[in-house]
Symmetry: C2
Subunit: 248 residues, 2 copies
Amino acid sequence: MNLHTTQLVRTDCDSCPIRHRAVCSRCEPDELDVLETMKTYKTYDAGQTLVWAGDSVQFLGSVVSGVAALSQTMEDGRRQMVGLLLPSDFVGRPGREIAPFDVVAATEVTVCRFQKAPFEKLLVSTPSIATRLLEMTLDELDSAREWMLLLGRKTAREKIASLLAIIARRDASLRLRKAAGRVQFDLPLSREAMADYLGLTLETVSRQISALKREGIIELQGKRRINIPDYANLLNETGDDTDGGMIV
Amino acid sequence: MNLHTTQLVRTDCDSCPIRHRAVCSRCEPDELDVLETMKTYKTYDAGQTLVWAGDSVQFLGSVVSGVAALSQTMEDGRRQMVGLLLPSDFVGRPGREIAPFDVVAATEVTVCRFQKAPFEKLLVSTPSIATRLLEMTLDELDSAREWMLLLGRKTAREKIASLLAIIARRDASLRLRKAAGRVQFDLPLSREAMADYLGLTLETVSRQISALKREGIIELQGKRRINIPDYANLLNETGDDTDGGMIV
DNA sequence: CGTCGGCTTGATTGTGCTCAACCCGGGTGG
DNA sequence: CCACCCGGGTTGAGCACAATCAAGCCGACG
């Protein structure tokens, strides 16, 4: 479990990298002061489980850095990822005692955590947090529904292209640019994690990545570094409206 | 478009069948009075589209009776249903101008509607509505994630069994009973709608239903009336934890 | 140097899709 | 009243895409 890597730090909300996108993005300075006294940072190793499905939930919070995966496992071992938690995304749900899904760190992950009960009280008394959380939840619901189209109707090739396109766009927006023309980024997911997310086997993932590489739509440096000569070509392979109606 | 069937009615919230489950379930009498002045009922024919994806949203509201489907279509015609709206479910999302998905009546549907802008104002000033909406949205998000497991990892047979099990349970809960032993109900969906929901073709849906019938797990009276001799047997075919960990 | 985990590639299989014919019941018009 | 049509559903034959089973590659690390 590598507890030695777990850290407890406290930093200023003003200088927080996710300040403008997280649950607290609409908070007034005095509200932030309250949060500041409640929060604790914790960092998890890649592969560590933050929350087990079925366990009672101890804390809620925001992903500050790294990537975590929300997933579900059937008795016979079939697994499906049902959400990717990226920086600024919210972990846990107020008002529910038991966690419905596993939360696993895909990379090293740092979370800004709050005890569940105090945060729930805050939610009632602080509309700026409640409203933002509602907004974020509605966005996540839309993403989940987009993902349902991918899982139900897209081909393996389209699934891979869609995932790469989404990660590319997200990565671009993180450095405040628009994904277009030549783009490159690091995959935060292993082939197996991609398979779990896309509803495929890892062999199929590997084959489709090879195919896209063979056709020059993507280039690889090592296993994880992806280089896209022309983002538009990649979008053509996603099966989506090429003129950007996609939500995520 | 059968406009002649469209009705405008006004009824008392106290006697509303979805009073205890809808967005308004936590409202105080005075808050209900406000809603009462704002609401309008409208009934749609089966097959009618309540909202087109991409159009600007005119209203929000609750499904009072009937079943509506939320769905998405790709340019080449592939379609995926991404949500079923049943009585008490909320239609539309505050804070978004453009509808991301089509909303189509699967059966005749009656909706209790509010103009978007006034309702959004109410949302800010009335925590009992905002809180309830957050809770409902979180529940829907969980359901969507459950559905992702089905779409990504279940076999055609498991998909059909899961859908039937869910409808059976829902139907039972509507008449305040638990699904167990012998159960029967009407399918609110055509074979095609089932296929759209399950990420299958209608031929596969038909074949799997025939297979379940052949094996005595279900019985049919006509095309739509389903009779389940033993609900536990059906659950065995869903691929889920048989001891009821399922959410929906 | 050997091992191990993550990944790639190959051969084969099988589930669900496609294309196509047909059935059935209800509604319509001659 | 019957013939016809039409939409929804069923069934069949063949195929294709992704899963499965299996071997081997590559780089990191002890």
